[in-house]
Assembly symmetry: C2
Homo-oligomer: 300 residues x 2
C-alpha cells in the first residue's frame, strides 16, 4: 500500500480500474485528470480479451475474478469498470463479488447524454457485444431518452493500428489526411451515415452521439468532423471520470487537470498477458507512459 496523502493529511484512496484490455486506460487518464492525488491500480485482463465475443456467463466469471484481484490483493477501495462489455453484462456479478462500491461506464454516459440532449433522441456507437446487450438503450430509457445503438466493430482495430488523427493536427494536416487516416474517416462516415439513415427511418431527431467504447476517445477529432453540425459528442470515459470524482473524490478534485500525470507507486498497471502490447500502445491511450506493466496470472 502507498503512503500517498492528500492535502488534508488523510490517506489518499486507492481506486481500482478494470478493463478486458487497455482501452480502459482512456478512463484512467480521465480519472487522473480529476483525482491526481489518488492512488490507481489498473488491471487489463488481456489474456482473455476480447470479452465482446464471449457469453455473459463467461464475462461475469472473468470480471469477478479480476475485481477480486484489485480489491483483495491490491487494496482497491472503489472500482471503476472501464469496459463497456463488462459494465453491460457483468456489473451485478462484480458488485456481488467484492465488498466495495463499483461504478461502470454505461450509466455515466447515459446521464451525460441526458444533460446534453434537447430533443431526447440520442445515437450510441459501440462494439457488437455492447450493442447486443442493449445496456445503453436501457440506461438512456431510464433517463427519459430514446437511444438508437449501432455496432462499429472496425473502429477498435483501426485505433489499435494507429490509423488515427493526431490530437494536435494542424489545419493543413486536417485538410489533407494521410491515406490511412482517410480510411478511418471513411469508415466513420459509412457507420454514421447508416446510423443516421436508420434514425431518420424511425422518425427520430437525434442531437447527441454517445461514444460507447473506451477506444473511441482516440477517434474523437475524426468523429467530430463527421457528425452533423450541432450534434454533441459524449465521451463516456470523460463522463465516468466525472461521476467517479463526485462519488469517490476529494472535494478539491472537482476541476480536471488535463495535463496531470502520476507515476509509481501512485500508479500500478497489471495485465494478464501481452505486457509488450500494453506498454507499446498504452501510452497513446493514457497520454503518459504506463510504467512497467506487471504480469499477473488469474488462471484460465
Amino acid at each position: 500500500m502507498s503512503n500517498a496523502e492528500n492535502r488534508t493529511g488523510a490517506k489518499a484512496p486507492t481506486i481500482g480500474v478494470f478493463d478486458s484490455g487497455f482501452g480502459g486506460l482512456t478512463v484512467l487518464r480521465a480519472l487522473i485528470a480529476r483525482l491526481p492525488r489518488d492512488r490507481f491500480v489498473f488491471l487489463g485482463d488481456s489474456a482473455r480479451l476480447p470479452y465482446g465475443s464471449k457469453s455473459r456467463r463467461t464475462i461475469a466469471r472473468y470480471a469477478a475474478q479480476s475485481a477480486q484481484f484489485l480489491v483483495n490483493e491490491q487494496g482497491a477501495e472503489f472500482l471503476v469498470i472501464a469496459c463497456n462489455t463488462a459494465s453491460a453484462l457483468a456489473l451485478d456479478a462484480i458488485q456481488q463479488a467484492v465488498p466495495v462500491p463499483v461504478l461502470g461506464v454505461i450509466e455515466p454516459g447515459a446521464e451525460a447524454a441526458r444533460a446534453a440532449s434537447r430533443t431526447g433522441d440520442v445515437l450510441v456507437i459501440a462494439t457488437d457485444a455492447t450493442v447486443q446487450s442493449h445496456a445503453y438503450a436501457a440506461a438512456c430509457r431510464a433517463q427519459g431518452l430514446r437511444a438508437l445503438e449501432k455496432p462499429c466493430p472496425l473502429l477498435v482495430p483501426l485505433v489499435e493500428e494507429g490509423w488515427t488523427w493526431p490530437p494536435a493536427a494542424t489545419a493543413a494536416q486536417a485538410a489533407s489526411l494521410p491515406p490511412q487516416v482517410a480510411v478511418t474517416a471513411e469508415v466513420i462516415r459509412i457507420y454514421l451515415a447508416e446510423l443516421t439513415a436508420e434514425a431518420d427511418a424511425l422518425g427520430m431527431n437525434p442531437d447527441t452521439l454517445v461514444l460507447g467504447c473506451t477506444h473511441y476517445p482516440l477517434l474523437r477529432p475524426l468523429i467530430e468532423r463527421t457528425v452533423p453540425a450541432g450534434m454533441r459528442v459524449i465521451d463516456s470515459a470523460e463522463a465516468t471520470a466525472e461521476t467517479a470524482a463526485r462519488r469517490f473524490g476529494q472535494p478539491e478534485a472537482e476541476k480536471p487537470t488535463p495535463t496531470a500525470q502520476v507515476s509509481a507507486p501512485q500508479l500500478r498497471v497489471f495485465a494478464t498477458d501481452s505486457v509488450e502490447k500494453f506498454e507499446r500502445l498504452g501510452s497513446r491511450f493514457l497520454h503518459q507512459p504506463t510504467g512497467k506493466v506487471e504480469l499477473v496470472d488469474l488462471g484460465g
Copy 2:
C-alpha cells in the same frame, strides 16, 4: 464414431481440424473439396480467441487442450491445425500432446510458394502474432526462398464485418465497388504498397504473395485485383488441404471437387463459446451451412 465407408469398404478416416476461431473453416472447406468421403470434426476455441494477442506459453496450453479433445474425445486420427498462430507457435506442443500425425498451415504454404516462385523472393501477409513468430520466413528459408512478412491486423475484422467482394461479382459490380468494399480494397492497397516498397528497399524481386491467415481466402478476389501483374497469390488453406490429401487421403481423393458438401454425422462442428457467431458467419467461410454448432467447455 461414424460408419462412413469409402468405395473400397474401408472405414473413412476421421480428420480433426482445429482453429482458435472459425477462420479455419476455409481450410475445412478446402479439405472437404479434396476428401469428400472422410469424416471431419472441427473445433473452434472461440472462448479464448484471439490467440494472436497471447503469449507462446498460453497458446501452447490452449492448443494442446484442444488437440486432446479432438483426438481423445472425438476419435480424430489426423489433426490439421487450421490456425496460423497455433501452427507458428504451438506445433511442437500439439505433437507432444497427442499420438496422431499433425499438420500445420505454415509448411504447406511455404512449399506452395516454392513451387510458384521463379525469383525465389516471396511476400507474406498475416496477423501480427504470425508475423512476430517469423514462422513463414523460417519455413520459406527452409525451402530456399527469401520471404518478407507484413502484419495486416485490419483484414480479419474487415472480413468478419462482411465488407468483402462477393465471389460471384459481375464485371459491372467489380467496376463500381460499394463504399464498404472500397474501404477494404483501399486497406489492401495501403498494406501491399507498404510491403512492396519495403521489398524494393531491400533489393528483393518478389513474384509470389502468400496469404498467411485463414480469413484471407475471402479477400482473394480483391487481393488479386491489387497485386502487380504476374504476381502469384498462394492461399495457404488450399495448400494445406492439398498436403493433407496427399498425406492422409485416399488414392481417389486427389482431384478437388469444389462443390462437395458434407453433413452430420460426416461433419461435427464444436466451439468453446459464441456458437451464434459461428453459425452466422461460419457458412460464408465453409460455403455450406455449419450445421448445429455444439458447445464444449475446455475450462479456463
